[in-house]
Amino acid sequence: MTDFLIGFFNMLLIVLAGFSLASWWLKDGLKIDKTLLFALSWVSGCVIIAITQFYLMLSGLLNISIIHGVLLLLIVISLYNNKTVYWAAMIEIKQYILTFRNFLRLHNSLQIILCVLILFFGFQILVFNAITPVWSYDGWLIWTIKAKLLHYNFLDIDFFKNKIYDFAKLDYPMLVPVLQAFITKLSPDFDERLAKFFFNMCFIIFGLILYNFIRNFFDRLFSLLLLFAILFSPFIVLNFISGYADAVLAKFYLFTIVVFYRFFNEKSPGLYYYIAFVTGFAGLMFSKNEGSIYVVGLVLFSLLYIRFYIDRKSQHIKYIILSAVVAFLLYLPWVVFIKHFNIANEVISGTNISLVSFTVFLSHFYMAAKTLIVNVMFDPQVSGALFYLLPITIYLAIQKNEFKNIFFFCGIFFFNLLLLLFVYALTPFDPALHVVSSANRVLMSMSPAIICFMIMTLSFRNNELSEIETAETC
């Protein structure tokens, strides 16, 4: 019970730290969507804490508990300077509670049944994470071991140079272990089950952002139904309960894509987008190496999208480039650190990539693509029916001339998929085994792009009705 309270307190601290940062940018009040503001607070909190802790640790200055004091100070200063924003947030929370009460009282039974169903299934996931230790190989030996060392203040530069720990993939970014350690820090002993609380919160945020996005295109009843079918798909759930960093990556990716969707529709974007993009990009890069590829795809395709489909180009371009540069500057010390200490890259360690000849590359590429499509994408036990729907959705989008959505959302998805296949083909491992053992995680982390695309394209209500209904709250 005490551990549970510690975990809850630390997660609250992450949200408040993020909100204190966001509140500097929102001095005029809460003008953005409240669910996205909550997600932004969590995402920014994660990024601030991860980056600060990690660099203090490398500089050798950190007794990691100090971070709690510093954060509380930051929150108090921010509260003192931005009382209006905090006050507005409190009123919003109160309204949310009232709306929920009204919702239970007034709406039809099918909506309530669906809500109960979602809460029951969600609760099972939260319980699973709270009572089972980390059980996946990568979860233990890549992510949680670093969190455990960090918890006992044993993770320092020597750790990264120590060959004994090579199995822990030392070149992988540190956001997940650092935050797991943050959540367990006030507890005397490290307990993996408490560390897994982090994934619970990520799952909740993932669900909230997804619902918020679906709600733009469907009414409440159908949004709940769609949320249920997507959120509890096996490949999403299995990643959130296994302790893989890919689940965290997926949450950052979904957040960034949803922010992009809103950003493209804004005529004069507010300062909110700077902080959302910077923390979204930085979160992606600090979560996993694949995150950097996602950021490249997002920046590249968003710039092209603005070039082709948006009138007021310069302002939008400025937002994206500046945010990407700031995020990269935050990430740069980690890259320098990895290069400086020559920390091995696990994918190519001990193997010269040039040895994979062009013929071998082609056969690997074919095998990887075949296995990925047959055994992962179109296996209903893995991804549900998500990928069956994709080709039909693209066909419908072409019919309706929605090329801009295809260009951005499918563009980033296929860009990432192609790069993933290149990685599988370039590495010396058996491509079929490599794909089967890891592809569903990577595919899950890149799936938010096509989930959003399908939701947008398959919105089946006529415009008048949609406008009336999306005006409803909750």
Binding site: L117, L141, Y152, F167, Y388, L465
Partner: protein
């Protein structure tokens, strides 16, 4: 690759097949779909609606089987301590060894792990090695026998241990898979 971790959980998650849960859940979902159609049939694009409904219905068996497994796991693990949870997850051998290590080696002691490369079970040994390192963290793992308070052996037979390690210390636990030797001369900080 790992051969046994998570296999237990994976099996638990995968063993659930078509069951009453699917029927109940399908009933609820189909009720919502039909109700929704009756309510808004004039305002919806029927092709898109059919597609989404097919997607939702197609997902139900996978979701139900997954959650039957999850609920089963939640019931199995309820109220278990961390070590007991490991007992469920891992082989009995490893669990007994974990318990022993936890009891025997103080957090300030150092340890050295030797893996028998020629052992038949070699594929799993690396995985055992990583787990033991993980489990014993924050106890310090050292690179040589001389620096260690304890020596952990993976995959050594009794004659091999006698031949190679008998001079280093006292054998306090033996199984064909795992063995533990307490070194004779213990550096400062080790628990007696």
């Amino acid at each position: 690759m790992d051969t046994y971790t998570a296999n237990t959980i994976n099996q638990m998650l995968e063993q659930a097949h078509l069951n009453p849960g699917v029927i109940i859940l399908s009933g609820i979902i189909i009720a919502v779909i039909v109700y929704y159609y009756i309510l808004y049939r004039d305002n919806i694009d029927k092709v898109k609606y059919t597609l989404i409904c097919l997607f939702i219905i197609f997902n139900i068996p996978a979701i139900t089987s997954l959650f039957t497994g999850i609920i089963k796991v939640n019931t199995t693990f309820r109220g278990k301590s961390y070590l007991q949870s490991i007992d469920i997850l891992e082989t009995k051998d490893l669990y007994l060894f974990y318990s022993l290590l936890n009891k025997e080696i103080s957090t300030t002691s150092t340890f050295f792990v030797a893996v028998n490369e020629e052992c038949e079970n070699n594929e799993n040994n690396e995985s055992y090695l990583h787990r033991i390192i993980y489990f014993l963290t924050p106890r310090k793992m050292v690179k040589s026998v001389q620096q260690a308070d304890y020596i952990i052996l993976i995959g050594y037979s009794r004659p091999e241990i006698f031949k190679l390690f008998s001079h280093t210390g006292e054998l306090i636990y033996y199984s064909p898979l795992f063995s533990l030797i307490k070194r004779h001369s213990q550096p400062k900080g080790a628990r007696a």
